[in-house]
């Protein structure tokens, strides 16, 4: 799953079009757009809005763990060329001094910069940081929903010392994001592939659900059943979980015993398949 969080509608429109997103009909606190497992929300400007929108979307989007969370938007910078796309390798909340370090392990091809989130537009650009108003609200909120590698801020330089923010029109904002829509979507897809691999590795055999409805398993036994099913899937790939012995079992304990006995008879190979 990918979640895009954008502050302004003008920033969001290019991605909404490119990704074929439709306005969600669900009642939501913030506007939500969706196409399959790709979600986008428009938070409004500022840290509080960004944090609230991330939290709200987490609940709207089935509370999926290990999703990709991208805060995409425009940012100021002292002297980078207008239109430059950067990821944030640090996110600093100027007001509190809090700082986060998004791991840049899956962002090949996009150069990175520090990002400072401010409460009012920064017009002096005092250092080499990108300046925005959402990153430090978005990042800690999204970090509660996913793993740090999949939570990133992607910013397009919109204003600099030589190109004042005052001349930034809604149309120009849209153009700046639109110019990078492919790179942004590709980054999301690459991150999703990585996080999907984590999730698919944890998928459990559908027969586990069937067994859970047939017998009463305690919480501990449910965990044991899930792990036994995983181990059997690795040691004897392709073989059904419910064989004759398991089908005959009359209790949860007997099911676990039958599975453990089957596991114990399998030869140990260090490679599957």
């Amino acid at each position: 799953m990918i979640v895009f969080l954008m502050a302004m509608r003008e920033e969001a429109l290019p991605l909404i079009g490119y990704l074929g997103l439709q306005r969600s009909k669900q009642p939501t606190l913030f506007p939500v757009f969706r196409n399959g497992d790709t979600w986008l929300t428009v938070s409004g400007v500022g840290k509080v809005n960004a944090a609230a929108a991330a939290t709200a979307l987490f609940h709207v989007a089935q509370q999926a763990r290990d999703a990709v969370w991208l805060n995409v938007g425009i940012a100021g910078h002292a002297d980078l060329p207008v239109g430059t796309l950067r990821s944030a390798h640090t996110v600093t909340d100027r007001a509190s001094g809090a700082r986060w370090y998004p791991p840049q392990v899956l962002l090949a091809g996009i150069a990175s910069s520090p990002l400072t989130s401010v409460d009012t537009p920064e017009l002096g650009y005092p250092d080499e940081s990108l300046y925005d108003m959402e990153g430090a609200g978005f990042y800690p909120a999204a970090l509660r929903c996913s793993t740090a590698e999949a939570v990133q801020c992607l910013k397009v330089v919109s204003d600099t010392r030589e190109h004042s923010v005052e001349h930034l029109s809604p149309r120009r904002i849209g153009e700046l994001i639109d110019a990078h829509r492919e790179a942004i979507a590709d980054t999301g897809a690459a991150l999703r592939e990585a996080t999907d691999s984590l999730r698919s590795a944890r998928d459990t055999d559908p027969d586990v659900a069937a067994l859970l409805t047939r017998h009463r398993f305690s919480v501990t036994q449910q965990r044991q059943l899930t792990r036994l099913a995983q181990r059997l899937a690795v040691r004897a790939p392709g073989q059904p979980l419910i064989d004759e012995a398991v089908a005959r079992a009359r209790s949860s304990r007997a099911v676990l015993r039958a599975l453990q006995q089957r596991l114990d008879t399998l030869p140990m190979q260090l490679r599957t398949g």
Partner: protein
């Protein structure tokens, strides 16, 4: 990406390391722990492209080695100039211990020397062992860290201190560049070919490591052989017999300082983390006693594996140089 603690400033070793990566983005931080090991990090994802962290080690520079880690010495300690490893061995406890796969290099080596001196002073007149390959591979990242050159100089001046460099690498240039030291053992870890292929990702081939080992032995260095962890598989007996034949054929008996072996074991919490990272790893789906506080092979299989290997090793090395690692 290289993260550097702000306080390191112009530390010469940090500067030397940075100079090796002129294209890398440099990011300052107050303490490396801001980047390394905070919550919500995934070791498996980070292992795809780990960053380098340059840091200063402030406390606990030299620590007592876990019981059962020694090779005949009475006083055993370890120290870590680095956290994490360039290799990706599926059985490695570091995956369970750390949330981050980034490499942390503590550049204040001289403070390790001071801590080693303090440790030696506590054991007046006695010899002490210092193991350097506990939280990392001692040599694998040596072209970057320059650790071996420093460590050899350090231990050359401290004859009461013994050093074990433990490695799976072939980075032996700094050892070959100088005369061997009687108080240094270069220990190589091995598993059979099948386990190496399945579990020791990015580790140089057995033949390359045996060639490195041979060069060191020929140069006069004392060699340690480490068969730890022992990995169980259906054909373990034939696999280990072949491995022992290959390894002992490559190194003259007179060069072998010590041989140690021990079964695959992990603390329960580390094991749970590893399973959540790699639920489809056959090693973790194997015949393990998952109810115990320390996860290892079922008692009967572990005893069978250990006893078989001990018999094989006793045929090849004197008992006074053979050590069974305790759990």
């Amino acid at each position: 990406m290289i993260y550097i603690e702000d306080a390191l400033g112009g530390h010469p070793r940090a500067q030397r390391i940075l100079a090796r990566f002129p294209q890398a983005t440099r990011v300052g931080c107050a303490r490396y722990t801001e980047v390394f090991n905070p919550r919500a990090q995934n070791f498996r994802l980070q292992k795809r492209d780990p960053a380098l962290l340059l840091a200063h080690k402030h406390r606990r520079l030299v620590l007592p080695a876990p019981p059962g880690y020694g090779i005949g010495g009475t006083h055993n300690y370890y120290f870590s100039h680095m956290l994490n490893c360039v290799y990706d061995c599926r059985y490695c406890f570091l995956q369970g211990m750390f949330r981050s796969a980034h490499y942390v290099v503590f550049v204040n080596y001289e403070d390790f020397a001071t801590a080693i001196d303090s440790t030696l002073a506590r054991h007046d007149g006695d010899h002490c062992w210092f193991f350097s390959g506990y939280d990392c591979d001692s040599l694998a990242y040596d072209p970057v860290t320059g650790f071996a050159e420093w460590a050899l100089e350090c231990f050359a001046r401290r004859p009461r201190a013994h050093l074990e460099l433990r490695t799976k690498s072939t980075q032996i240039r700094s050892l070959l560049a100088r005369e061997p030291l009687p108080n240094v053992v270069v220990a190589f870890s091995f598993t059979p070919a099948g386990a190496h292929a399945a579990l020791e990702h990015k580790v140089p081939s057995l033949n390359k490591r045996l060639a490195a080992l041979r060069k060191l032995a020929d140069a006069g260095w004392r060699i340690g052989l480490r068969f730890d962890p022992l990995i169980y598989s259906a054909g373990y007996a034939a696999d280990y017999r072949q491995l022992f034949e290959q390894v002992f054929a490559a190194v003259p008996g007179s060069s072998v300082h010590s041989v140690s072996f021990g079964a695959f074991r992990l603390p329960r919490d580390f094991f749970k983390t590893l399973v959540s990272l790699y639920p489809r790893e056959p090693l973790f789906a194997g015949p393990l006693d998952t109810a115990a506080a320390t996860i290892g092979y079922r008692n009967d299989l572990e005893a069978e594996l250990l006893d078989f290997c001990e018999v094989q090793l006793r045929d090849r090395v004197n008992a006074d140089r053979l050590f069974r690692c305790l759990p």
